[in-house]
Amino acid sequence: MHLKHFIHSAFTAATSGGRKYHLWMGGLTAIIFIGIYAYSVQLQDGLAVTGMNDHVSWGLYISNFTFLVGLAAAAVMIVMPSYVLKDIDFSKAVLIGEGVAVSALIMCLCFVVVDLGGPHRAWHLIPMIGYFNFPDSLLAWDVLVLNGYLALNLAIPFYILYSHYCGRTPDKRHYLPFVYLSVFWAVAIHMVTAFLLAGLPARPFWNSSLLGPRFLASAFAAGPAFMILTLGFIRNHTEYHIQDETFSKLAMIATAAAQINLLMLGSELFKEFYFPTHHSLSAQYLFFGLHGHNALVPWIWTAIFLNVTATIILTLNPLRRKTHLLFPACLLLFIAIWMEKGIGLVIPGFIPSPLGEIVEYIPSWIELCVTFGIWAMGLFIFTILIRIALPIELGKSRSPLIAKKEGQPQPVAQA
């Protein structure tokens, strides 16, 4: 019986709000529709409408996919301390972290589907029903771990929110085992996605044992950075109180991860350029250009400049403590890692081709519109999830059945 009311309250929470809220959601919807239109063109005319070709056979879609897997994995940075280590500081942030994970995962799945040449055959990927090349294909692994992680990140917050909604305290025995599982799972989704690229000897640029660890480091920098921005927004615009301690701890995580990420970047640069071989050509193309082709050179140096600037601000304690510097630094870090780990990682893997041909890649308008559409959809889903979660966590939204039972409004319950 509670469930009916829960769904009703959730729907009301998601659809009612101030003018700014409706403008925001309306704007996102408009972008989503542009994306859907662009995708319909791509469905009709084939992937020829994208900037991809036989040489650069993955582009903007897979670039966003690899980045977003990291964002989803980074939710664990919040989940682990608050559920497992009983760190009180993070408990308020944890549901939001899981919201980020869910939205990022749905975006990941969308980016994979729009990249398929035959999306109507995507059912071939369903284990037991299709023809699943497991355990050989890392893409088959990715299908399993991404969907599993999505299920975990939907189930855990739903259980907790629903318990609160019904006026019950969530039973730790019911959800803690899944929390432990999701911690390992988060690392797994990221390592599997890195292995997907690192397992290809045909592409020396990716075929590195550092790729997996570097994926993790950059994810644990970008994830908390995004969380800081989101929590900052929520604290300023809602009654949901988030302690300063939460921000400083998240900032510490982002800082350490960003430092490790830069260290690994240095290690990679050394290996590629101390004694360059033919396996260094992709890196040469990316950082300095190759035979007059240098489309990604400004891109990657911008990313590195942003990355270093953000890391310096975060590293210097007095600077990090100032909110007006912390937020821009987090934004810079997030953008830098998106640039570096998306396009900066995927595209140069294909340039030059295994036969040494250099064909550059520029995304087409269709590709850009589809990409914006998926990002808008991700933000749309994230906003809805937060809209549903906050009133419950604030104790404002409770099942009417409890009130009836007790004959008075339910007092504010604590999470």
């Binding site: 084939g46 056979s57 398929l116 050989d136 000897p201 081709s353 036969l355």
Partner: protein, 320 residues
């Protein structure tokens, strides 16, 4: 001394051939009993729908099973549908076959780089034989022009123009190496591409989801993707087709050289070899010690491309 080095050489060649003979092809994926039933259920539903007068072609196409899972009956139906679709689209009657691998055969190429002069007759013959899209132009064979004195493929030029052969250049034709340890089939998430018993790596164009992971995995740049619906004129269609090789491909799937299996499995030579005016190409069953290819591998100083990757290619190159 001479005898010694000859012996050494033949030992090493023998070793290569032995290695070939020893390679056991991976067992096909286990059959899934209950799934067969499920498919049968779907098929039964399809039959029921047909009887009730609905058009089920679209549904049949959508639910079409993996090539290896189809029964002979199902295959027949699918082949009939493909022939019908081609007739509708191009108004030509095709002869769609499905020749099985030749028992005991292992197909291989041996290409003499001393003889190849870069005329690209193979490239064009391949396009005509295999119903490749003319616009955008899809080609399986790439001929690389290299400077004498280097063997660095990355310094080569696949887009050379003008009269050939040019002075101080040599030419290296490349196509799918039908590797014995193929990275492309390993990464395919749905096993839409696999290695057959005669060594040919094939693709089920109706099962490929178009993720292009195989293209990223191929170290020889052998795979092509149909970014658009292939464009062919009616007159350009080769009606001698087979399911796993040269039938007209749909949009959004990967394709590549298949050693003209619709010819070679029936005893003919691949189109590229037939077209080559220089005789640089030799094709045959390397498991047969008397075949041209086995003789060349035994007696010439052959090499394969990117041997260090462990892909074990089936195209041997040599200089006479």
């Amino acid at each position: 001394m001479k005898i010694d080095s000859d012996k050494n050489k033949s030992d090493r060649a023998a070793h290569r051939l032995k290695k070939k003979a020893e390679i056991k092809l991976a067992e096909p994926a286990s059959r899934r009993g209950f799934l067969k039933k499920l498919t049968a259920g779907v098929a039964a539903a399809g039959v029921a729908a047909t009887q009730s007068g609905c058009s089920t072609t679209g549904m049949d196409k959508f639910f079409q099973d993996h090539y290896k899972e189809m029964t002979a009956e199902e295959k027949e139906k699918v082949f009939a549908r493909i022939s019908e679709d081609t007739k509708k689209k191009y108004n030509v009657d095709i002869n769609l076959k499905d020749p099985p691998p030749v028992p005991g055969a292992r197909f291989a190429f041996a290409i003499s780089l001393s003889v190849c002069n870069g005329n690209r007759a193979c490239v064009h013959a391949c396009v005509e034989e295999n119903n490749q899209s003319r616009d955008p132009a899809v080609q399986y064979i790439k001929v690389i022009e290299l400077d004498r004195g280097t063997f660095n493929l990355e310094e080569g030029d696949a887009y050379y123009e003008g009269e050939v052969p040019k002075k101080d250049k040599f030419y290296l034709p490349m196509q799918c190496n039908q590797c014995d340890n193929p990275p492309c089939t390993k990464v395919c998430p749905v096993e839409a591409t696999w290695k057959e018993d005669d060594g040919i790596v094939v693709i089920d164009y109706d099962w490929c989801i178009g993720c292009r992971y195989c293209m990223a995995a191929c170290p020889y740049d052998a795979r092509r993707f149909n970014f658009k619906e292939p464009e062919l004129q009616r007159s350009e269609i080769n009606t001698n087709q087979s399911y796993l090789s040269n039938r007209v491909r749909p949009q959004g799937v990967v394709e590549k050289c298949h050693f003209c299996l619709h010819r070679t499995r029936l005893g003919a030579m691949p189109a590229c070899m037939e077209a080559c005016p220089t005789g640089a190409r030799k094709f045959g069953n390397i498991a047969d010690p008397n075949s041209d290819v086995a003789q060349i591998v035994q007696n010439k100083r052959v090499f394969v491309l990117k041997e260090e990757l462990g892909t074990i290619p089936n195209i041997y190159y040599y200089f006479d």
